[in-house]
């Protein structure tokens, strides 16, 4: 028998881990693009939103730009009247994300090669708001339900299997099945990404570009190809994050704000480290839940989850500016 208070703490921590996985996914998208091109992509969260919106739109057979079409042609179309299976829809959205990556490279960043980081950053802010508006225009701004068949609700199996741990007031750990699936998907995604970077020729080229642009050019690597590639990969990662978040709380425009939670994650993990993004995400996820449970709710009136991650990042910035796994910043005089 363990004290109930301790067991609740463990449950809180487990739920924090699951939330952390999603933070890590968004942060991972940031790291991919930042490593390869030095661009801090503010639009990463909007890409998650855009991916999820497009997925719902395709699955439900929504007519894209319906509002625009109707107001120009005086028609009244909203739905094609068909439903596309989830798996096929996801493949289609992946194609859309590659197209998006190509457009971003071709119409924006191709013209900004060699510019200051702040200018590149500004461009991604512009891109973020453009995509938000574009997504709105394309699929309208209602909150949409996303159901691709991921099981939801508490896992009875875990609840029953763990109920013996505590006393009569403890009924076992409550863990959402969706979050278990999300974690598994995230783990697989990370393994695939790492294997891709490590063992394929495109991955080798990608690492080369992340390391040194000039040297990469001299061995015949096309930078713009690699940039389209990393934006596509970041798009896939965003799509997965968008699907998980969308399944949990509906596809809505506040989804793009998740991106901001990834900022403290990156501060912790370092902007250039894939393991850093993952560990950082988990630390923020667990940290904010535990803090709320132990200190926030009893002493500070709750809702500390809104700011805890940022405070943690601030403390980290002061003591270890390069993050946990970031490359050490050495300035030669």
């Amino acid at each position: 028998m363990l004290p109930d208070q301790f067991l609740f703490g463990v449950e809180v921590m487990l739920n924090g881990l699951m939330a952390g996985v999603l933070y890590a996914l968004v942060a991972l998208g940031f790291v991919l693009i930042f490593k390869a091109s030095g661009i801090f992509n503010y639009a990463q969260g909007v890409m998650a939103l855009f991916g999820a919106l497009t997925l719902v739109g395709i699955m439900d057979g929504q007519v894209p730009f319906a509002h625009l079409i109707n107001s120009i042609f005086g028609t009244d179309v909203h739905h094609f009247g068909w439903h596309v299976p989830a798996f096929l829809s996801i493949l289609l959205v992946m194609v859309v994300m590659v197209g998006l990556a190509w457009c971003v490279q071709h119409f924006i960043f191709r013209h900004l090669v060699g510019q200051e980081p702040i200018i590149l950053f500004m461009a991604t802010i512009g891109l973020a708001y453009f995509m938000e508006g574009f997504g709105d225009l394309m699929w309208n701004s209602e909150i949409k339900k996303l159901d691709i068949g991921i099981p939801q609700g508490g896992s009875m199996w875990i609840e029953e299997a763990t109920s013996f741990l505590g006393g009569t007031n403890f009924y076992g750990f409550f863990i959402d099945k969706l979050e278990i699936v999300a974690s598994l998907v995230a783990v697989v995604l990370v393994i695939v990404l790492v294997a891709f970077a490590q063992y394929t020729k495109e991955g080798r080229a990608m690492r080369a570009v992340a390391d040194d642009h000039q040297a990469a050019l001299s061995v015949g690597i096309s930078l713009s190809f690699i940039w389209v590639l990393v934006w596509s990969l970041a798009g896939f990662v965003a799509l997965v994050a968008g699907i998980m978040w969308g399944a949990k709380s509906g596809v809505q425009f506040s989804l793009s704000l998740i991106a901001l939670k990834a900022l403290p994650v990156l501060m912790l993990g370092g902007f250039t480290s894939i393991p850093g993004a993952i560990v950082g995400g988990l630390i923020v996820g667990v940290g904010e839940k535990i803090f709320e449970f132990l200190i926030g709710a009893p002493f500070l009136g709750g809702a500390t989850e809104n700011w805890f991650a940022y405070m943690l990042a601030l403390v980290f910035l002061v003591f270890r500016p390069q993050g946990l796994f970031g490359e050490k910043i050495i300035e030669r005089v």
Binding site: T200, K201, R207, D212, A216, L217, S218, G220
Partner: protein, 272 residues
């Protein structure tokens, strides 16, 4: 010998072929500064061609024009008998022109082996699916390319550090790894930007030997920039001398050595 267009055999038994690359009236400007002024010269198949000159003479700019990092405002680059349109550096590299850099541009985070393997990227054709399942083309290619890379590592005597991250290597070895990466691409023309810069005497001798061996063994055409005169005169077949963006001499080391303009501008005093 170099005045005849056909191929011939040198006194040490190497075959020098016809013109492989020709620079015609190249002019390169950066704003108001003229880096290269109306320079023409050619590079013949199988030769070691040096470009020398004092600091700021425009040697590196010339190398960057050849490798596509700079596009000249005027003039034409002819490669294998065809006029080369304005190209990006990676496209030039894909045509079989590999290079090294004066300030070493290696992938610092990767191992020596990985660095040299990037030199083989353009020899890999396998699609992503084939690679994903490690089947067919992908598997065969990886083995073949790995063999080529091992030969190069062996040839340049760096096989013992193949697993070491490049960032941990001393300067001289980094230079050699960079040469290995360029060589792994199996280039038609190898461009070396100050291969001996910053090296001690022993390292310079090693590097000279490697350059000669590469040329001898694989018949690789080599164009190099250097301002260490003695080394250049020993290893190159022909030398272009630049000063303030202009060409002031072109010929065999012997001819260049006795060229009065070169002596005045570069050497200061005549070497005997």
């Amino acid at each position: 010998m170099f005045d005849q267009p056909e191929s011939f055999v040198t006194s040490d038994g190497r075959t020098i072929g016809g013109v492989m690359m020709e620079m015609k009236n190249i002019t390169l400007r950066f704003g108001g500064v003229v880096a290269i002024k109306d320079i023409s010269f050619d590079i013949r198949e199988g030769e070691i061609r040096a470009i020398i000159g004092p600091n700021g003479a425009g040697k590196s700019s010339m190398l960057n024009v050849i490798s596509g990092f700079y596009n000249p405002q005027k003039g034409e680059v002819w490669y294998k008998g065809e006029r080369r349109p304005s190209m990006k550096p990676f496209e030039v590299a894909r045509q079989g022109i590999a290079r090294t850099f004066q300030n070493i541009a290696l992938f610092e985070g990767m191992s020596v082996l990985d660095n040299v393997m990037t030199g083989r990227l353009n020899h890999m054709k396998a699609g992503i699916l084939s690679q994903a399942f490690w089947y067919g083309t992908a598997q065969r290619e990886e083995t073949e390319n790995r063999e080529v890379v091992e030969r190069v590592l062996d040839f340049l005597e760096i096989q013992h550090i193949r697993k070491t991250p490049v960032s941990r290597l001393p300067y001289g070895l980094k230079k050699r790894v960079e040469l290995a990466r360029a060589l792994a691409a199996d280039p038609k023309i190898l461009l070396l930007d100050e291969p001996m810069a910053g090296m001690n005497v022993e390292e310079k001798e090693d590097m000279s030997r490697f350059i000669l061996d590469v040329n001898d063994e694989f018949g690789t055409t080599i164009a190099l920039i250097e301002h260490d005169m003695s080394v250049v005169m020993d290893i190159s077949d022909r030398v272009v001398v630049m000063d303030y963006g202009k060409k002031i001499g072109d010929g065999t080391p012997k001819e260049v050595r006795s060229n009065q303009a070169v002596i005045d501008a570069y050497l200061g005093v005549a070497h005997d």
